[in-house]
Amino acid sequence: MKFGVVVFPGSNCDRDMFDALKHDLGQDVTMLWHKDRDLSKFTTEDCIVLPGGFSYGDYLRCGAIARFSPMMQSVIEFANKGGKVFGVCNGFQILCESGLLPGALLRNANQQFVCKNVFIKNSSEEVFKIPVAHGEGRYYADEQTLNELEANGQVIFRYCDENGQFTKDSNPNGATRNIAGITNAQRNVFGMMPHPERACSDILGNTDGRQIIETLLMAKQLVH
């Protein structure tokens, strides 16, 4: 499979993502410019990645303007055909703004930009240590949407403490129900606030992110 990393004006984790995929995970990766539209060399087996950063300066709302960039029109089409799309941090915000994922990311409840390692847990009870770095990461959706997400098993990661307990203190941004990452109903679009690409290399002292990218993206289905 191939990966394409979209570069928006203001993206700043695009190189980290490229480097993690190419060098740490040995994948075929290309960068995609936001003004282009061409995804013809990607099949639905491949994965388009929306990286972290501050696309369009976070003007208006995080991800709001990126959603209307030419490349995003192709990404939305690609996702609707069943192609895999993975958004991290600002990429998650763009996926919510574009309607590919439900809900929205609001300003952190604690009025702070949070930049630290946090713990997140998947539905298989595995706990990962992954860095977060965001000011607008408080996941929010109405009660009905949240109940549907949970009923369909679409909540992929929740913030927890080191022992895997979902506590208020382990939630870095006030996210509803400790939600850190979700997928869509078809399970081909996935967004998360923490940065697995920053935790893929021994030299960085943390490789927990490698497993997340391997199991989520390189499996036949984006999320099992």
Binding site: L60, E97, A104, L106, R107, N110, Q111, Y140, A141, D142
Partner: protein, 81 residues
């Protein structure tokens, strides 16, 4: 004819507004009394060329629904002059 359209975008009333909370703290430091709550939103001005105020409002409504606001977290109000 060109109409000036004001769009007020505010965080939904039931949602915590951390920006408003921070500004509230600033007002308290200023020594002002009596301010009980602050919520911060945006005011967006459009100049719209349209045949009627209704048509100008319709354009602003579409802009507000699709880009200027996110109805998951905000509501908007439109005034046409």
């Amino acid at each position: 004819m060109t109409y000036t359209v004001q769009i007020k975008v505010m965080p939904l009333k039931e949602l915590l507004d951390p920006q408003g909370k921070a500004v509230m703290g600033g007002l308290e430091n200023l020594g002002l009394s009596g301010v009980e709550d602050v919520r911060v939103g945006k005011n967006i001005t459009l100049r719209v060329n349209a045949d009627s105020p209704e048509k100008a409002k319709a354009v602003a409504e579409e802009a507000s629904k699709k880009l200027l606001s996110n109805q998951v977290m905000e509501y908007f109000e439109i005034t046409v002059n």
